[in-house]
């Protein structure tokens, strides 16, 4: 019998396409082939030992692919064909189903307002209806949330939910362009809601003035099509990532720091998630938060606008997405790069045997140094700025350790302070005198607590104090030798 193999499968058979055999069942012929050609086994069978779905076997024109035919004697058959079944199709999955857009109509005002979208062939009326039907959650109404919320509103997203527990402060106005001076001390969600209403009154706005927690995160995103992570800390990022993957809602992730930003799409169309990239948040103290590291004013506008653009493309169902890819932008060097992220089988969240089955309640606050110092009072002794000032004025013997980053020290120096980064504390503890009180300072009095705990763990026995509220709280203290000020 002649065995003829399609040239499409030649790579499995050392490029041969025809053989003679004296075997007379399909299974005997297949094992003869896999024995003679090492690559054939891998090519013809999957990991479970089943014939791959694209293989078809024909005996004189009759389909004998099904396993039930493999043991039957091929009597009088002159030619056995080994062929591929080539099939596929366009990706079908759409974030906003065709069913949902049937209920949406665009009126004359919409046609005027979204004219520039309707001109784009990828968007058109159909795409604009998808945008109008879309329900999007924006977690965080800060720097990234500012452009995201405003562009989604301007683009005509029908329902926008904004979640943020904070109030607007003067320091926010440098990068959070959704708020204005008049909004200082107002909840960020209230200010964001007003801005959305000023753009388009037809948008349904849901403002949630509360912290995301492992208890409320699932219910806060339930029923929405897309979540956009505009938060600035690891606790929220991991919680949102976990909740989105568990709920099957795609996530547009972004993070900014100083002059750099990153954007990625997670949990879309079976793509990877944040935990495929980094299974756990970074070690405490290793990465200063955005609040401590600072950012250049337009950075959030650049990165957040890319986030909003990704969100719209996902909603419309056009273009290529940052799914499985992490975009990094360096605005200082004006460079960008894309890092491929593959879905990990061992991912604790979206892998084949996940260990995370509900939003986690790891005490990120503790190790990210976000926890209020009152809660840590029991473990770390603190000095108020007044107490510290008093002791300095009285020329008491003190060692002051500054654990801030160089760029932070450049803003305000602490006179006579010894500079030791947290990472070097353990091995440089000999520089401290256990007979003398040691005071740790940082920007907000959080990383200094971490520094004290690090030193204690390293076995240091001397007295350690934390400057409560950090350098920020020292601003109001005026030493008498400075001339009294106003």
């Amino acid at each position: 019998m002649r065995v003829v193999i399609s040239a499409t499968l030649r790579s499995f058979f050392e490029r041969k396409t025809e053989f003679q055999t004296d075997k007379n069942t399909v299974s005997e012929i297949l094992s003869e082939l896999t024995d003679s050609f090492p690559d054939a086994k891998k090519g013809l069978y999957d990991q479970n030992g089943d014939l791959r779905s694209f293989i078809r076997i024909f005996a004189d024109g009759r389909d004998v692919t099904d396993a039930s035919e493999h043991e039957k004697t091929l009597e009088g058959v002159s030619e056995l064909l080994l062929l591929p079944f080539v099939a596929g199709g366009a990706p079908e999955e759409k974030l906003i189903s065709d069913e949902r857009i049937k209920e949406i109509s665009l009126d004359d005002k919409d046609i005027d307002r979204f004219n520039k979208h309707l001109l784009l062939r990828e968007i058109g009326v159909k795409g604009q209806k998808r945008i109008k039907a879309a329900k999007v959650v924006v977690a965080g109404a800060g720097a990234l949330g500012s452009p995201v919320i405003q562009y989604l509103a301007a683009a005509g997203v029908g329902t926008i939910k904004v979640i943020d527990a904070d109030v607007v402060s003067v320091g926010n106005l440098q990068s959070q362009v959704i708020h204005s001076s008049r909004d200082v001390k107002r909840p960020k969600v209230a200010s964001a809601r007003d801005t959305i209403r000023n753009i388009d009154r037809n948008i349904t706005v849901i403002d949630e003035n509360q912290m995301l927690t492992s208890e409320n995160v699932l219910s806060l995103i339930e029923g929405f099509d897309l979540v956009i992570d505009c938060t600035d800390n690891y606790k929220s990022r991991y919680m949102i990532n976990d909740a989105c993957i568990l709920s099957g809602i795609p996530l547009v992730f972004a993070a900014i720091y100083q002059y750099e930003g990153q954007v990625a799409v997670f949990g879309y169309d079976d793509g990877p998630c944040l935990r495929c990239l980094y299974p756990e948040p970074p070690e405490p103290g290793l990465v200063p938060t955005c609040a401590e590291g600072g950012t250049i004013s337009p950075l959030a506008g650049i990165v957040g606008s890319i986030q909003a653009n990704e969100a719209l493309k996902l909603i419309i169902g056009c273009g290529e997405h940052l799914s499985g890819r992490l975009l990094s932008i360096d605005t200082m060097g004006i460079r960008s790069s894309v890092l491929n992220i593959s879905k990990k089988h061992q991912c604790p969240l979206c892998g084949s045997s996940p260990s995370i089955t509900h939003p986690e309640d790891i005490d990120y606050e503790d190790f990210c140094g976000l926890k209020r110092e009152e809660e840590k009072e029991s473990s770390v002794e603190g000095l108020t700025p007044e107490e510290l000032a008093h002791r300095i004025e009285n020329s008491e013997k003190l060692t002051i350790i500054d654990v801030r980053e160089p760029h932070e020290r450049a803003i305000v120096k602490f006179p006579d302070a010894l500079v030791i980064p947290i990472g070097q504390l353990a091995r440089r503890q000999k520089e401290l005198d256990p007979q003398v009180d040691t005071v740790f300072i940082c920007k907000e009095g959080k990383r200094s607590i971490l520094a004290i705990n690090t030193l204690r763990e390293a076995g240091y026995k001397g007295p350690l104090y934390n400057l409560k509220g950090g350098m920020d709280a020292m601003k109001d203290i005026i030493f008498s030798h400075e001339g009294g000020g106003l």
Binding site: S6, A7, F12, G43, R56, G88, G89, R121, G319
Partner: protein, 129 residues
């Protein structure tokens, strides 16, 4: 020649583009052939046996007859072409399930406005056409 580059004959590319356009909004498919050096120098339209607008499947026997007749003219099959109506030129889940290793997969995104930039895929890595 750089092994990461697959050349495609301009005329063939135009023929595939026309095929994608004339089939829109349905998917179309074709077999791709090479003379010797791996570049795409010939194509042959195949019947899409799928009834769905956004699916394609090729009758294995028709494909075999097609590759045999081109072999007689000195061509070797090197991959497949299909269109993605109203969808980007990325391999779909359905595409990946049936992918044959070492075969090239040329995808054309097509809308009612015409055929977009084609992209070439080979198992596990992406190449631009």
């Amino acid at each position: 020649m750089n092994s990461n580059v697959v050349k495609i004959d301009k005329k063939i590319k135009q023929r595939l583009c026309d095929l994608a356009n004339s089939s829109y909004p349905c998917e179309c498919c074709a077999a791709l052939f090479t003379k010797t050096d791996g570049s795409i120098d010939e194509c042959c339209e195949l019947t899409n046996t799928s009834s769905s607008n956004n699916r394609y499947s090729i009758d294995p026997v028709e494909l075999y007859e097609c590759e045999s007749s081109y072999r007689k003219k000195g061509y070797e099959i090197t991959g497949f072409f299909h269109s993605h109506p109203d969808a980007p030129a990325v391999m779909s889940e359905e595409d990946e399930k049936n992918v044959i290793p070492a075969m090239l997969y040329l995808l054309a995104p097509v809308t009612k406005e015409g055929c977009g930039r084609m992209r070439l895929w080979i198992m596990d890595s992406r190449k631009e056409a």
